[in-house]
Amino acid sequence: MQELRDILGPTLFYYAFSPAIKIAVVVFVGVLPLISYLVLAERKILGFIQVRTGPNRVGPWGLFQPIADIMKLLVKEDVIPNKAVKWAFVLAPCLVVGPAFVIFAVIPFGPSAAQTGGGLDYFITDVNIGVLFVVALATIGVYGIIIGGWSSNSKFSLLGGLRSAAQMISYEVPQGFSLVIPLLMAGTMSLQGIVGAQLEQGRWFLFAFFPFGLIAFMIYLIAGVAESNRNPFDLPEAESELVAGFHTEYTGMRFALFFLGEYANMIVISAVAVTLFLGGWARPFPNVEALSFLDASFLPAGLVGVLWFSLKLSVFLFVYIWFRGTFPRYRFDQLMDLGWKWLIPLSLVTLFAVGLWKVLLL
């Protein structure tokens, strides 16, 4: 390890190599199973919303459905269209999935070893530009969709890719601004540091600087849904207009990678929201003594942190599915209006207000 560190230099080693193995472990043990059952949960919940049963054939209550799905996707024929630009066609799904997985490197699932008094670090790495790192990698994901749409050489794919580029660029701006607000409140960009600041101040940033924290959170949530191309902002793959948008020409496992990327992005965005606005792995009301039973001190402190984190995360994931079950899709001009005319000005005003508040009153 030390030798590699010398070769790569400290910063690159810290950013690139050391977390790679841990990321692989987290992704294979945690994220991939989570995603496959998230898909099942989505279908079940949608079924409930639409008053039907959902998958119920494979295993009890359809519990083995994800396994069957994966088997199906893996053995399906992999088609690359004749007129496609091959290398780009192959590269595109990886560009969507890769960055989404790498982001898990900076998300604190639980407390650090120092905070629990020894033991395990419940996160992969803690970099002091954590939030920026998340945003930067998320932007790389856009390329997968654009390149996928372009390289398929099909008009539906191209239009889907175009829409997605426009949409993601538009919503990156308010998302970025709304992310800066918790940074201002915490005074650090490290995600673990932001959780720490919420513990220290004894409040979730959702409720800090009321109502600006709340506004920032709402902006982040809306922009996040748009960034992950989910309902009601799923225009890049609007089936009634574009067949399936940018992934029309994809089949089998390559299609599954796009699918995987979308769900991984959902989880990332939810995890970032939990970390920045809902106190991360800390229990609710961390400063209220009377609720200390929520710390479940009979369990290892780190594990409790992970449990709280998962609980909050699942609330978000449920909201995502709920949106999909209830909201109709936006029209493209409405989408742009919402982004540029409402969210961006609102996020700017909020940012300004929080900054002013912090300078004048604190």
Binding site: D6, A136, V142, G161, L162
Partner: protein, 177 residues
């Protein structure tokens, strides 16, 4: 192995510098604008790695975020929108091409000549300075913030007016009357 550990950062620097330059050349020479734009992206990302090598993690990530995530996506957007697949070959400066090549080669020779054995001045940009504020160790983002909002406040603010003008200009020139 010993050679690698001794010269690792330098080797990586040359590798990514070469990538940055090579892909920059491709930007100009590729006939398909889509490939050109993607080469430009590779160039940007290589430069970001160079920043990482100098411990300037903040600058590196901003490079990815702004150039990779913002500007290049817009480029690709425009290229896809007007659906350029292959540019027509237009020979505009064919007659003066030999002269241009001559001048170019001479310039490169001049720069190579001048950089060989040159001593750069007091090294302000050592990696340590990228992660310290007034000699105290701090994150790279703190170091950048101190420079931007103290030492270089005026250029920073002027740059914001500059960008405003660029935006206004684009709107004026692009608007239908």
């Amino acid at each position: 192995m010993e050679f690698l550990t001794a010269h690792g950062p330098a080797l990586l620097f040359y590798l990514f510098a070469a990538m940055a330059l090579g892909s920059a050349v491709l930007v100009v020479t590729m006939r398909n604008p889509m490939y050109g734009a993607l080469s430009l992206l590779v160039s940007f990302l290589s430069v970001a790695v160079l920043f990482f090598l100098r411990n300037a993690e903040f600058v590196a990530v901003v490079q990815i975020f702004v150039y990779g995530g913002g500007i290049m996506v817009l480029f690709l957007f425009v290229i896809m929108l007007i659906n350029l697949h292959r540019l027509h070959e237009v020979r505009m400066f064919a007659q003066s091409a030999p002269l241009g090549i001559l001048v170019g080669v001479l310039l490169v020779a001049l720069f190579v000549f001048s950089f060989v054995g040159v001593g750069f001045g007091p090294a302000l940009a050592t990696p340590e300075n990228m992660v310290s504020v007034e000699g105290q160790a701090a994150g790279n983002s703190e170091a950048v913030a101190w420079l931007l909002y103290r030492q270089y406040l005026l250029p920073f603010e002027v740059a914001s007016v500059f960008l405003l003008v660029a935006m206004v200009g684009a709107v004026i020139l692009g608007r239908r009357n």
